[in-house]
Symmetry: C2
Subunit: 148 residues, 2 copies
């Protein structure tokens, strides 16, 4: 078993890292024109699917915790994109809802998704397969603690 010294180009983690950075560089200027950052865009996509999620539910879906989401959502609220309200039933819970301003962005953002898909140069089937392989990788390494 050969053990050639590994370089960055050999690592699947570096592939993810650099592809994710490249994706951000692609999205950033397009989203900036709409006054959005990439994680804020993900929050909108999530809430367009179903509005009125709690901070915890958003975190569950996006893989983030309140230490990231709370300040992010505060910025979005300040920008007039969402409202933040304590639940009446359970005062610990904060519910996030879209504003009209956020809903008005929906079509522009839909354009953007197609635009990014075109940039990948993949067929629809190829993109689906790669997406699902990457999700499977994520699920495999999640909640692992190898020799923690």
């Amino acid at each position: 078993m050969e053990h050639r010294p590994l370089g960055t180009q050999d690592l699947i983690c570096f592939a993810l890292y650099s592809a994710n950075n490249a994706m951000n560089r692609l999205y950033r200027p397009l989203l900036a024109r709409l006054g959005l950052t990439y994680p804020q865009y993900l929050v909108l996509v999530s809430l367009w699917d179903r509005d009125g999620k709690t901070v915890g539910q958003l975190g569950e879906e996006l893989g983030l915790e309140s230490n990231t989401l709370t300040p992010l959502l505060k910025r979005m609220a300040e920008a007039g994109l969402v409202t933040r309200a304590r639940s009446e039933a359970d005062e610990r819970v904060v519910t996030i809802a879209l504003t009209d301003k956020a809903n008005a962005l929906k079509s522009e953002v839909a354009d953007l998704v197609g635009c990014v898909f075109d940039a990948t140069g993949l067929t629809l089937d190829e993109a689906r397969r790669l997406r699902d392989d990457i999700f499977a990788l994520r699920d495999a390494i999640e909640d692992r603690d190898p020799r923690g």
Copy 2:
């Protein structure tokens, strides 16, 4: 052509984003025991392959610029992992070299790579293919400016 409202789970960019976050969560505690962050680990891997790269060369390989690398390398220098020296031939250029302390980490880090590979649950061939598909995606979207 159906246009079902898209959710986060449909987006290849979200697959990358969440898989990259998961990978970081896997690496973070393991690297923290060595006093490293993930980008710092990438710098070490790059320099173990060939020592004495300039800031620009590191940036070329890792897809980062001096605004990210300079403070990162300063922290690594403060931690005694690298040295930073202005080139004599060209005073604009800063050369980064590994210290003995950094070289001493090599074997521990090699263990870590195998450990992370195990966590993926992939065969070697599967991992190689996925890695190269992700690199290909990165290369496709890099330096694109769709309707910039």
